[in-house]
């Protein structure tokens, strides 16, 4: 994961900045029009903004006597699950708060089928990325990864557009178009 606010002063405090971990839709996102949803992180989740997550379960609560569904999300996605890209982290102040604060505690999520071109800090930085490379994810791991050559062996969650670009604060960002092609079952 990218962290640009690395400490230069040994032993000093160096608080993280809001742009250290991020998801940035660069095109395709129109507020109030685009496909988007919100979800509550599972207990103990620590994925950052920009991560790929998926639905773990649907819980319900009642509002004025009606049953309302809530999405609970986990890190990563299995081969047959809808990839969701998190705009906020599981431990950011939208999803967590100081004790006693009554806030919504949900993260904003962009479904992979929403037709977005996004930049994220949360990708496997040990790989190199070329235009048109397929991207994948695995269950329990919030990083976007490069897909093996046989694309139908695993879920495809995106295809690289500009590859790795530098953000305005020096972050390494992977830029790609989102999509969802579940693993092809051969058996």
């Amino acid at each position: 994961m990218a962290t640009t606010s690395a400490s230069w002063d040994q032993g000093a405090f160096d608080p993280s900045q809001t742009y250290d971990n991020l998801l940035q839709p660069v095109s395709g996102y129109i507020m109030n029009q685009s496909l988007e949803t919100t979800g509550k992180p599972v207990a103990g989740a620590d994925w950052k903004a920009g991560s790929v997550v998926s639905i773990q379960e649907i819980t319900t609560h009642t509002v004025r006597g009606r049953t309302v569904a809530d999405i609970v999300v986990k890190a990563g996605c299995a081969d047959d699950e809808m990839p969701l890209f998190a705009r906020g982290g599981a431990e950011d102040f939208d999803t967590k708060a100081d004790a006693g604060n009554a806030i919504g505690r949900v993260a904003s999520l962009l479904p992979a089928t929403g037709g977005f071109e996004i930049q994220t800090t949360e990708y496997d930085q040990t790989e190199t990325y070329d235009a048109n490379d397929f991207l994948t994810a695995s269950d329990g791991d919030a990083e976007v990864k490069k897909s093996p050559a046989n694309y139908n062996d695993n879920i495809i969650i995106g295809q690289v557009s500009k590859g790795v670009v530098e953000g305005q604060y020096g972050q390494s960002l992977l830029q790609f178009w989102t999509m969802n092609i579940p693993k092809v079952q051969t058996s």
Partner: protein
């Protein structure tokens, strides 16, 4: 002609106008109406009177862009000692705790309607917005409130020393008090006062079913002519054992046979509003889109300032170390 027809016609005339200032006028008029209704219907707002603040009071943070306000908690004193003559007291350095109030936006769904169809409504459009939008936002405020309050109450009849309420206050936050009786009511009422903080209790929240059970108590159980008043008039706004009772129909938040009790607001925390319930109207040709939103911070900081009792099971003590 409906009594609402003229008011509706005026509102629709403003919303159909191509002049954006008229949309603003409609939004302001409707929002003002919703503000009045909000104060009548929200549980959270009844327990803690909202305080309106401006963004100039926000404190900037390094690690988040989320707006925060920093408030002070009452400092604890180090205590006084008896001294022999000729010596001075030990030192105690002053340090006062602080906490952050964090802010969030609550919004309704975005509704859409053809203006032509809205003009057929004989029902008050303002009341319609109240039903569709404000009640849901207030419900969300109350859901957030009870989520925070319940997480601070700990377990029912807790015996684990690590229970959040026991550990921080020396007393349980949530007990069973047995079936409805005068003794059970008195035991319930004592919860907040039994903590190490020994705060006064001011408000309680109960549902309509709870009221029916009180109505079933006889003269001896109620201890006076209150029984006759209740029998004749149903629930009145009289205090319940010195607590101001808030009666709600939100049974999924306040279950049957449960009472939530609260200390005075100054001891609880903060309810800060930056933008009170506001209507947004947008007209595209003849289609009207509207939703409500508000921007606020609720902080139920002091867990010694609230308690819950369930009128079921056996009567338990608030302080388990008092159990025989």
């Amino acid at each position: 002609m409906s009594k609402h027809t003229l008011e509706n016609a005026r509102l629709l005339e403003m919303l159909q106008s191509d002049d954006p200032s008229r949309h603003k006028e409609a939004a302001e008029g409707t929002s003002e109406y919703l503000h009045l209704r909000a104060h009548e219907n929200g549980i959270a707002r009844a327990v803690m009177e909202p305080e309106t603040i401006t963004p100039s009071e926000f404190t900037q943070q390094v690690d988040t862009d989320k707006p925060c306000v920093v408030r002070n908690m009452e400092p604890s004193s180090a205590g006084a000692v008896n001294l022999s003559l000729g010596i001075g007291p030990n030192d105690a350095y002053i340090g006062a705790p602080k906490y952050r109030v964090m802010f969030d936006r609550i919004a309704s769904k975005r509704y859409t309607a053809d203006v032509a169809q809205l003009s057929t409504y004989t029902y008050s459009l303002k009341e319609l917005f109240n039903e569709l939008i404000l009640k849901d936002m207030l419900y969300r405020e109350d859901v957030n409130m009870f989520s925070s309050v319940e997480s601070g109450l700990g377990s029912r009849n807790a015996t684990d020393a690590d229970d959040i309420h026991l550990k921080q206050t020396g007393a349980r936050g949530w007990i069973t008090v047995g079936s409805y009786s005068r003794q059970a009511m008195a035991l319930a009422r004592n919860g907040i006062g039994e903590t190490d903080n020994a705060l006064p209790v001011e408000t309680c929240v109960i549902n309509h079913s709870f009221v029916s059970n009180i109505l079933g108590m006889d003269h001896d159980a109620l201890g006076g002519p209150g029984a006759e008043d209740l029998f004749k008039n149903g629930w009145t706004k009289m205090p319940l054992m010195g607590m101001q009772a808030i009666v709600t129909i939100k049974r999924d938040l306040v279950p049957n046979d449960s009472i939530f009790m609260f200390a005075p607001q100054d001891y609880i925390g903060d309810f800060l509003i930056v933008t009170d319930a506001t209507m947004s109207f947008k007209k595209e040709d003849y289609m009207l889109k509207f939703f409500g939103y508000e921007y606020l911070g609720q902080c139920w900081k002091n867990i010694a300032a609230f308690a819950r009792a369930d009128f079921t099971g056996t009567a338990e003590d608030w302080r388990p170390d008092l159990e025989s």
